[in-house]
């Protein structure tokens, strides 16, 4: 099993229990180069594969069998280098602040336009990650 992210291949894990939304997400991100998207129906099955070192995890706050907060804590405990992006319909600023303080990378509010914005966020993030990898390599 490939458990590394090279310069040419970045794993992005997505937890989306809604098949349609999962499909839309996959479609919107497939144009992006050098990424491999893995979609999970629930948090537990995703956590079991965290050893594969995804660079990004995308999750909703409302998940089957686990709260979004618990998921973020678990991911951060296993590997704090994994960037967590939350995509949710919640528009509560104290909830967002609390999630941010837990160490999430970004919070996106669900809307028609959010998939496009998510794409930009991921593109920018991958540039940062690639840049960091180059610095480490040169050192």
């Amino acid at each position: 099993m490939n458990n590394t992210n090279t310069e040419n291949n970045y794993k992005i894990f997505v937890i989306e229990d809604n098949r349609t939304e999962g499909m839309l997400l996959r479609l919107s991100l497939t144009e992006m180069e050098n990424i491999e998207i893995v979609i999970f129906q629930d948090a537990e099955s995703m956590i079991k594969r965290l050893h594969e070192n995804p660079v990004i995890v995308i999750a909703d706050l409302i998940l089957p069998n686990m709260s979004g907060f618990d998921l973020i804590k678990q991911i951060r405990a296993i590997n704090e280098n994994i960037r967590v992006i939350v995509v949710s319909a919640q528009r509560n600023i104290d909830l967002i602040a609390e999630l941010q303080a837990e160490g999430i990378y970004n919070y996106l509010v669900k809307s028609e336009a959010c998939l496009n914005y998510l794409k930009h966020v991921i593109e920018d993030l991958l540039i940062v990650i690639q840049h960091k990898q180059k610095i480490v390599k040169n050192d």
């Binding site: 319909a89 528009r91 509560n92 600023i93 104290d94 602040a97 609390e98 941010q100 303080a101 160490g103 509010v109 669900k110 809307s111 028609e112 336009a113 959010c114 914005y117």
Partner: protein, 364 residues
């Protein structure tokens, strides 16, 4: 002659001393009288505020609060004696060199703009619109007054100095900051900036942050007592009507422009650095600044994501109850879509952080 002079001089001195003493006594009596009246006004204000604010009652006794305020009482008394000056709108002048309001001309109390009431379509079907804003519905609001700027650090400081009020961040002991990552940081209060640094006085013209909805309400109550005018927070409908430019609306996406860079301090224009001085971007059609961007603004209403489905058409005042209050306008840390005039957010009334302040309103 010499003998006569020697005899009269002591008598004259005694007379002079007696008269001078009397004048001095009268002056002292007048000062006492002013001080007592001021103390009474101040006492009433603090007592009333406490009776409506269980948080204060929990933390300080009325007596303690009065004693703590003794040194600040004269200031309150003087202010209430010059109510006409306080109530008079002051035109903030903008420096040509910096484009910022001149520091010495920034009024210590909010400058108000009268908004002529009217009917408008509330909500939006922008591509960025969220579920809670897509039910566009017609709403009418009466005339009201709105703060030309978000309440500044200097204005909030006047309130704190006059009342010794303890903000929620001070009571909880922390508030959220942003320094590239986010933290709920100990010791952060309204005196700090978004990154948690203590603000220098040169930044007192920025909108105040690290204040909760409850703090904003306490400020409105104090301001009402001082000015004898009923200050309050805006209703969500008033906020959106004003942000859209009221009866002079040009239908902009952001308050004052479709080009967010010219009208708002948002994540792009602020470069994610923090708040900016109030009123340093283009105002909207009504001459109101920063309705989009700089800091989120607490509104009076309880938030309900489905409120637009059953909102009354005349002067809606939000859900009857709820767990969070309406928050509007986006902030320096937010993307453009959250700074739209129709974008709705909400927050727990005790939340305080790096991105939220408030603006005052009154009906008359």
């Amino acid at each position: 002659m010499n003998i006569m002079y020697k005899a009269i001089l002591p008598v004259l001195l005694v007379l002079l001393w007696a008269c001078g003493g009397k004048v001095a006594e009268e002056e002292t009596a007048r000062e006492d009288s002013v001080a007592q009246n001021s103390t009474k006004d101040s006492a009433n204000m603090i007592t009333n505020e406490q009776s409506n604010n269980p948080i204060i009652e929990k933390n300080t006794t009325k007596k303690e609060n009065l004693n703590d305020n003794q040194g600040k009482v004269d200031k309150i008394g003087n202010q209430s004696n010059t109510d006409s000056i306080i109530g008079k709108p002051m035109d903030t002048q903008i420096s040509e060199a910096t484009g910022k309001p001149k520091k010495d001309l920034v009024p210590s109390l909010p400058e108000m703009i009268k908004v002529k009431g009217g009917t408008f379509k509330m909500g939006s079907k922008d591509p960025e619109a969220k579920d809670d804003e897509v039910n566009i519905h017609e709403v009418s609001v009466d005339d009201f007054f709105i703060g030309k700027f978000e309440v500044t650090v200097a204005q909030f400081k006047s309130f704190i100095e006059a009342t010794n009020y303890q903000t929620e961040a001070e009571k909880i002991g922390k508030s959220y900051i942003y320094t590239g990552s986010w933290k709920n940081m100990k010791g952060i209060t309204w005196r700090h900036d978004a990154r948690g640094n203590l603000r220098p006085e040169s930044e007192y013209d920025h909108p105040v942050i690290h204040v909760s909805w409850n703090d904003a309400m306490a400020y409105c109550k104090w301001l009402s007592e001082q000015t004898k005018k009923p200050y309050r927070l805006l209703t969500e409908a008033e906020w959106e009507f004003a942000a859209r430019g009221g009866l002079q609306s040009k239908g902009y996406k952001y308050s004052g422009s479709n080009n967010i860079d010219e009208t708002a301090w948002y994540i792009g224009s602020s470069q994610d650095k923090g708040t900016f001085p109030a009123g340093t971007k283009k105002p909207n059609e009504l001459g109101i600044y920063d309705l989009s961007g700089n800091v989120y603004e607490w509104c009076a209403d309880w938030y309900d994501s489905e409120y637009y489905l059953n909102s009354p058409a005349q002067n809606p005042k939000g859900a009857e109850d709820g767990i969070s209050r309406v928050v509007r306008g986006g902030s320096w840390h937010d993307t453009a879509e959250k700074n739209r005039v129709a974008s709705r957010f909400n927050g727990n009334p005790s939340y305080c952080g790096y991105n939220i302040g408030f603006r005052v309103a009154r009906s008359r």
